[in-house]
Symmetry: C2
């Protein structure tokens, strides 16, 4: 299925997963699929989700009092949306300082996470992670053991993080089928604003421009496969993406301006009938498309 | 494979296909797959393409002198790109007037085709068509018998077109697995500028904004499945799309402005941290996405 050697986690490891949505649910299911047979505790604000994860045998128990998490477990994987994660980190600052667990998160923006733990003991316990994997559906029902197969996970730990904590994080992602790489949080956020957050916003903006006017519903039957592919991201959870966008706003605003400059260039070539210029700009665009294609991950969706 | 009843074409019909690229090649292959065993003649400017189609047994012969086409065949399907099609129609105006063939084209813009034949005898012989089907690859190697399966084909004939010619066009598309619908050429072009030409341009503009600056190549390994889906259209042929865009420029320029208004609205909500407004705009966008999803064609790609 993928070409990476997986290093299984030792079954003695006590693991807690907070938030059993698409990502947390997929971490839990992926761990089971990797052969991990130690105990996994789960925590979710929605009791129905917790019960579903228990019934499926993916988790063994509720994780109990969140304040105890960092004492009672060796590895705590925080899988809430950005805003909820930041609130959780603020609320449980003392527990995090007192415990000895290695803590991971999976949020799509990393600088606010770094800022939330900067100068606290958590900074040396936590390995902020962003697995570049997703689906436009969200929640436990969308979770799948294969979500991270062949994907890349970016780790943005603070300088001086203990090697055994970093190794644990890397082993977890390897067990889930992902490769890892390290990067500064700000660099990650700038890159993701261009490669992920902006496409998401443009997809929404395009759909909004259709939804915002009367009559476009008559066009629904004529939206072909190109339309569907271009707007696939537009099926994603609005609250989740509003959350991500606001936590990376400065970088995204800059990317919107880069994009708008390119769009203005294409617009003026089109308005002035400059065929050669338009073709040349399209060709530049396609060359980037083709270079991405050569980077095909092990299991492309 | 699809839920439409196919009406096969009579094997006595003499068919010529001009341009054996993605669309013309797929028409020819689809006809063979539908069971049509009459003779199919093909014409292509590239001898290698003609030879490939002959070797594959998809066409039986070269179509010979293009000026004779409209005399020698019952059905002539013109499958050139827009600009080449318009030049062909201008060059062979007399042949078209003299012959009795029913003529179809498959160009993505229809008003320039209508204008090219307006007031000439061709207007009553020709059923302009646009099968809403495509791939980002082009040319004979990309052609496939299934290209039109479950797709919608828009016909934009002039008023007063003879019913038997319209019926022949509808039967052809039915044989190829597509449904047909009728519409005015201008209405078609306005709709396609929004649902197809604009997404194509935005995909190029986004890729251009990355290609145009240094350093973005470092991001290549981090472009996930969302990026790939959003930019799939960016792999399309630049010259082909420059051609289409320039022939529908006024409508596309208007759509760019609609889009830019939506993007400006999202941008200001983001810049001002107006979370509720951002979420609401994203939700409007998603509702359009979901309504398109309900229109799932018979065989969605």
């Amino acid at each position: 299925m993928d070409r990476f050697t997986r290093h299984p986690l030792p079954d003695t490891l006590r693991i807690a997963i907070v938030g059993l949505g698409l990502l947390g649910g997929s971490v839990a299911q992926g761990l089971r699929a990797s052969g991990f047979s130690g105990r996994i505790a789960g925590h979710d604000l929605q009791d129905a989700t917790l019960q579903a994860a228990l019934s499926a045998g993916v988790i063994d128990e509720g994780a109990g009092d969140p304040r105890q998490l960092f004492m009672d477990f060796d590895l705590v994987v925080l899988c809430q949306p950005v805003d909820a994660l930041l609130q959780f980190l603020a609320r449980h600052r003392d527990g995090l300082a007192a415990g000895s667990a290695t803590v991971l998160d999976v949020a799509s923006v990393k600088a606010p996470v770094a800022a939330a733990i900067a100068g606290t003991p958590a900074e040396q316990r936590m390995v902020p992670c962003h697995p570049i994997a997703g689906r436009e559906r969200s929640g436990w029902p969308a979770a799948t053991a294969e979500l991270f197969h062949g994907r890349l996970c970016v780790l943005t730990p603070a300088d001086g993080i203990a090697p055994h904590r970093l190794a644990l994080a890397e082993t977890l992602w390897s067990a889930l089928g992902a490769r890892t790489t390290r990067m500064a949080a700000e660099q990650h956020d700038r890159m993701l604003s261009a490669t992920s957050h902006l496409p998401q916003l443009l997809s929404y903006a395009f759909l909004h421009s259709l939804a915002a006017r009367g009559g476009a519903e008559h066009w629904l039957p004529y939206c072909g496969t190109g339309f569907r592919s271009f707007t696939r991201l537009g099926g994603s959870d609005p609250a989740l993406w509003s959350d991500i966008a606001l936590h990376n706003a400065p970088a995204i605003l800059q990317e919107i301006d880069h994009f708008s400059a390119s769009l203005a260039l294409l617009r003026s070539s089109l308005a002035q009938g400059r065929s050669a210029d338009l073709t040349e700009a399209f060709a530049q665009a396609r060359s980037f498309h083709d270079r991405v294609g050569l980077q095909q991950p092990a299991t492309a969706a």
